[in-house]
């Protein structure tokens, strides 16, 4: 990513976050035309049914439901804690992991299946070695 020294705008935190610099960022997945399984990230073969070259890009949903979580109090040096590591089933298919924000990190405030929105924001101020800033996705309780 850093090979293009001209880039100054925000970069996507993962390559399946599209439209990072635009006003319409979204997450992109792959859907198997043979068995409908949904995947995140690049691949050419379906891990569910083994079909080759049947994966079509799809725009993933921007809403979902909380499937599972943990509240992380100890992480690697330099990582700010606590935070909620959340696993979300997106409406329309696909499961992704991310930080659940705008909720006090206390199990009493977190309910399984609570509806969440996928929101996009600066990646907690983290920059790469070239000084580029990044756009990340987060979950927050549905509006």
């Amino acid at each position: 990513m850093s090979e293009n020294a001209e880039v100054v705008g925000p970069l996507p935190v993962v390559d399946w976050l599209k439209g990072a610099g635009s006003d319409d960022p979204y997450l992109e997945g792959l859907k198997c035309a043979a068995c409908s399984a949904v995947f995140i990230g690049e691949r050419s073969t379906c891990a569910k049914c083994g079909a080759r070259d049947k994966l079509d890009t799809v725009r993933l949903g921007s809403t979902g439901k909380l499937y599972s979580f943990s509240i992380v109090y100890r992480s690697f040096p330099g990582i700010e804690v606590p935070y909620i590591s959340a696993i979300v089933d997106l409406d329309g298919g696909g499961t992704i992991k991310g930080n659940l924000i705008n909720v006090e990190p206390d199990p009493a405030n977190i309910e399984f299946d609570m509806p969440v929105d996928v929101v996009f924001a600066d990646a907690l101020g983290r920059k790469d070695r070239d000084g580029n800033s990044y756009i990340s996705y987060f979950f927050q309780p549905a509006a």
């Binding site: 850093s2 599972s68 943990s70 109090y73 996705y137």
Partner: protein, 380 residues
């Protein structure tokens, strides 16, 4: 096709040995297993070595440099936390296939301290704490919370697993720790990743374990009175499940392995007298009561509440102290579990002996994922 027997098996006391090398630790366990079998390195026809941290560094050959370079073939294998059990199983297969009569399996690991796992390396910026967590305590906390979601399992029930396993370890001189941890101590320990507190995470230790496997013919020659029969050996990888690539599924991989193992042994879960299962975190142990068929789905919370899985209960689980207190040297764990169950089947487990043990099961999970299950039987 004849059966395969364990003639010698042992482990070093788990601990921290920074002054030793990985091959030295492995050699120590190898010598102990050979002595236990009453055999020498000259009797071994092959070595199967499991180690993760130096997977590209010919650990098996370096062990032979410590104990005798006889020219036998060596297989070095790495399979995450199923590494030791995979090495053992490779030896089992070679004997089962009739290629060898007598082989050595060694599992060994030297661990650093601190958190394992990580949040997606690669280009750009660190993802840990940005796209959730990839640390092992968090990953297994999320797996536990899936059980809580489905069955209402509580923080207290998860914590009771640690109370039990730490209690068991007070009876095991080879465990890293021999310390009682009452429920309030476990629940009030530093929270690492809810619901796993520090005392609900396995201990990073150095360790080694080894086993001598022989054919039926060789076992009869040597004498059967301390032999342990391998009734089943199974290795699986995780079948596709919808969330698997985001949330490693440690359940399905165990369930298919358990089903195959019971079929191979021709027994059911009700026949098993003790189990050493993969309690890398307290949350994980709860899942595996159900995955291994020790109880019905949704009953794991009751199993830990009722004491059925404690020493003296219906089916004691992790009487060694488990990974939570005996310690978890990744590559050694799979063979250390086999040592523990074999020791009970031989009636040599002293204060922690499971009375009348005839059949025992060992289970390990390597995240990514691999599951190895062995069912062992008392012979004499």
């Amino acid at each position: 096709m004849g059966d395969v027997y364990i003639m010698g098996v042992d482990m070093i006391k788990f601990g921290r040995f920074p002054e030793k090398t990985v091959p030295q630790l492995g050699a120590q366990a190898a010598h102990m297993a050979l002595d236990d079998a009453g055999l020498t390195i000259q009797d071994m026809q092959a070595l199967y070595c499991g180690n993760l941290g130096q997977a590209n560094a010919m650990v098996g050959q370096r062990i032979l440099q410590e104990i005798g370079q006889t020219g036998i073939g060596v297989v070095n294998c790495a399979n995450a936390c199923a590494t030791g059990a995979t090495a053992f199983r490779e030896g089992w297969m070679a004997i089962k296939a009739g290629v060898f009569d007598c082989v050595l399996a060694v599992g060994v690991e030297q661990m650093g301290r601190g958190l394992l796992g990580g949040g997606g390396g690669g280009p750009g910026i660190p993802k840990e704490g940005l796209l959730g967590s990839g640390t092992m305590p968090a990953v297994f906390a999320e797996a536990g919370m899936e059980h809580a979601r489905n069955h209402g399992t509580t923080f207290e029930q998860f914590a009771k697993v640690s109370v039990k396993n730490h209690h068991h370890s007070t009876l095991n001189p080879k465990a890293m720790y021999q310390i009682e941890t009452p429920l309030e101590t476990v629940m009030n320990a530093e929270m690492i990743s809810y619901p796993n507190t520090k005392l609900m995470c396995s201990v990073n230790v150095d360790g080694a374990a080894a086993a001598v496997l022989v054919s039926e013919k060789k076992a009869r020659e040597l004498g059967m009175h301390r032999a342990v029969k391998v009734r089943a050996s199974v290795l699986t990888s995780d079948p596709f499940s919808d969330r698997d690539l985001t949330m490693p599924d440690v359940n399905a991989v165990t369930r298919i392995a358990a089903k195959q193992a019971y079929e191979m042994a021709g027994i059911g879960p009700e026949d098993v007298n003790l189990v050493e299962l993969h309690d890398c975190f307290a949350t994980a142990e709860i899942l595996h009561y159900e995955n291994l068929g020790l109880c019905k789905d949704g009953e794991a919370g009751r199993m830990i509440d009722s004491g059925e899985v404690a020493l003296g209960g219906r089916v004691p689980v992790n009487v060694s102290g488990g990974l939570l207190s005996k310690g978890h040297p990744l590559g050694a764990t799979g063979i250390a579990n086999i040592y523990e169950v074999s020791t009970h089947l031989r009636g040599e487990a002293d204060k922690r002996q499971v009375d009348g043990a005839r059949l025992g099961m060992t289970h390990v999970i390597g995240l990514g994922s691999a599951c190895a299950i062995h069912i062992l039987e008392k012979v004499a």
